[in-house]
Structure formats: structure tokens, C-alpha cells
């Protein structure tokens, strides 16, 4: 992590918030635009799951994390509380590494 990134991200994130709340005010965006924006978390966060589970740098790998995240996924599907999902993911990954 670098301070340059922290500062740029602070400014960028605040710019989005302030643009919507203060500068654009009560206007609404074209529906097609709102629909696409609403789908960003689903697409990008899923990509982050894939990256953090199946990759090591630019390499595709299958290791202990895959099993840990599979268990976390089942817990999320069963509507387990957030803390349970995270702890299960970490503990299962750690246990598989011990084997």
C-alpha cells in the first residue's frame, strides 16, 4: 500500500459521493445507466473472489483457499452471519494447509 494510492482513492471516492449528493442534486440518471451502475458490485466483487481464491500473481492456482472459500460460500448461502462466513473461510483454509 502506498500513501499516493490512499490520497487518490480518498479524493476519487469522495468525488463520486459529492457529485451525486451536492452537484447533481435531485436529478435522476437515465434508467439504463442506473441499471448498469447497480450491477457493478455483483460483477466486480465476484471477480475479486475469483482473484483472491484461484490466483497467485498472474498464475491460476488451486490450493487450500479453494476449499476454505467453498465452505464460506455454503455458509453465505445458508445465510450464516458475516463473522461465521469469514471465520469458516479462514479456519478451513488454515486446516487444509496443515494437512
Amino acid at each position: 500500500m502506498t500513501w499516493t494510492l490512499i490520497i487518490l482513492l480518498t479524493l476519487g471516492a469522495y468525488a463520486f459521493k459529492v457529485t451525486g449528493l451536492v452537484f447533481l442534486g435531485g436529478r435522476s440518471l437515465p434508467p439504463i445507466f442506473e441499471r448498469c451502475l447497480a450491477l457493478i458490485p455483483a460483477a466486480v466483487v465476484t471477480a475479486l473472489v475469483m482473484k483472491d481464491t484461484f490466483t497467485n500473481g498472474q498464475e491460476l492456482v488451486l490450493d487450500a483457499r479453494a476449499l476454505g472459500i467453498a465452505v464460506a460460500g455454503i455458509a453465505a448461502w445458508r445465510k450464516a452471519p458475516l463473522i461465521v462466513v469469514i471465520v469458516l473461510g479462514a479456519v478451513v483454509t488454515a486446516l487444509v494447509r496443515q494437512i
Binding site: 482513492l9 469522495y14 463520486f16 450491477l39 465476484t46 500473481g57 498472474q58 491460476l60 473461510g89
Partner: protein, 238 residues
């Protein structure tokens, strides 16, 4: 839900109490997320100070997780920033929704902007009248800011005291991401966008610089170009 009583101060107004309790409960729960961010951020190579600065200044969870995850994997500042800002863009839409509901001058709006995220918007728009919407926004915003940052600090201190890999803490991020994204999958379009985003990421990992697959995954949102069957509505649930 009942309408609030306008001439009582908000903390004395019994009709607002259930909403305030819900806002505080949600904020405390998000503190757990803050903890996992703190642990994961130092595990990915940030200092405790940098980790706390991210939560204090950036204050939008998914973007913080994304930036740390990409940098931790060895990505460039540009790709880390790009992915994080894609995730921050939706706060602009929340701002549009909140500006119709919040009173106050410019100073107060500039402060409100920093608190305009998934949870504050969701709690506010769920309330029946303008006054309780504002109370819900500010109570959630202030409480969540406190819990998020305390959680981050405790997590960062914990993460720097132990070896993250031994405890599987490198898996805490993807596990947190799964918990974050799963509720969205009740919407079939979100499932489609997620499938496309996930596949794009895995396919492009071997031959693009680290972090770029996260940027490319945004093409999954093109699912939204197609008109939905029912009327389009702003999604604020997270």
C-alpha cells in the same frame, strides 16, 4: 411503521426508536467487516497507520477491500485505483437518492456526502417519512463510521500481532467478499453479471497485468443494457 412526531426531538420520539435500534444493530455488525478489513489489510502488506487512514478517509468498504487486495497481489497503483473507483461509483447514485431526502446547507451536505454509502442509503430510504429518513441516515452514518474505524483499528493490531497465513487470514478477504456479494444474487441479472465478471477475471489473469482482470470484469454490467421485465428501480440493498 408510524409517522414520526415532528415537534419532539428525535431521541425522545418513541415512533423513531425501532428504526434507530435497527440502524445501530446494522452499524455494529459492519464493525465486524471493519475488523476483517483491518486484519486483511496488514496481511496484504499495509501498515496499521495506512489501514486506519483508508477507513477514516475513503470510508467505502468494497473499494477499500478491492484496493488492498490488488496492491497486496502486486498490482500497480493505477489498476488498484481503477477497480476501487468502479466500486465507489455507485455512491454517486446513492447521493442522487439522498439529496432528495436530506435538509441542510452546503456544509452539512458536504459532511453527509462522506457518509453516503450502501448502508446509510438503504436504512434511510426504508423509512416512511422525510424526518425519519434523515434520522436514519445520520444515526447509521455516525454509528457506522465509529464502528467501522474501531473495527479496522482492532483488526489491524490483531493482524500485525500474528502470522496471517498460519491462521488462514489471507482467505478472510475472499470470504468477506462472498458474504458481501451473496445477497445480491437474489436478482437474476446480478447473477448473470457476476458470472460474466468472474469468468472474465479468471480468463484474463494469466496474460494481463495484476489488477487489470478486476477492471475488465466490469463488462459484466452490460447485462443491464437489456430492459428488465419489471419496472427498473434503484437498488440500495447491500
Amino acid at each position: 411503521m408510524n409517522e414520526s412526531v415532528p415537534n419532539l426531538p428525535w431521541w425522545k420520539d418513541a415512533t423513531l426508536r425501532p428504526a434507530i435500534a435497527a440502524c445501530l444493530t446494522l452499524s455494529a455488525a459492519v464493525g465486524v467487516f471493519g475488523f476483517s478489513f483491518g486484519v486483511g489489510s496488514v496481511a496484504a502488506g499495509s501498515t496499521v497507520l495506512q489501514t486506519c487512514a483508508l477507513s477514516l478517509l475513503v470510508f467505502t468498504g468494497a473499494s477499500q477491500f478491492s484496493a488492498v487486495s490488488v496492491i497486496g497481489a502486486g498490482g500497480s497503483i493505477g489498476s488498484a485505483l481503477g477497480g476501487a473507483l468502479l466500486l465507489a461509483a455507485r455512491n454517486g447514485v446513492y447521493g442522487l437518492a439522498m439529496s432528495r431526502r436530506l435538509d441542510g446547507g452546503l456544509g452539512r451536505k458536504l459532511l453527509a456526502a462522506q457518509l453516503t454509502i450502501d448502508e446509510t442509503t438503504a436504512m434511510a430510504v426504508a423509512q416512511p417519512d422525510r424526518r425519519s429518513q434523515q434520522v436514519a441516515f445520520w444515526v447509521t452514518g455516525v454509528a457506522l463510521y465509529a464502528f467501522w474505524n474501531i473495527g479496522t483499528l482492532i483488526g489491524a493490531l490483531t493482524g500485525s500481532a500474528i502470522d496471517p497465513k498460519t491462521f488462514g487470514l489471507d482467505a478472510a478477504f475472499p470470504a468477506g467478499f462472498i458474504a458481501m456479494v451473496w445477497p445480491l444474487f437474489s436478482d437474476p441479472r446480478a447473477r448473470k453479471a457476476a458470472a460474466i465478471g468472474g469468468v472474465i477475471c479468471l480468463v484474463t489473469v494469466p496474460f494481463t497485468p495484476i489488477g487489470v482482470p478486476i477492471l475488465l470484469s466490469v463488462f459484466g454490467v452490460l447485462v443491464g443494457l437489456q430492459k428488465p421485465v419489471d419496472a427498473p428501480k434503484l437498488e440500495v440493498a447491500s
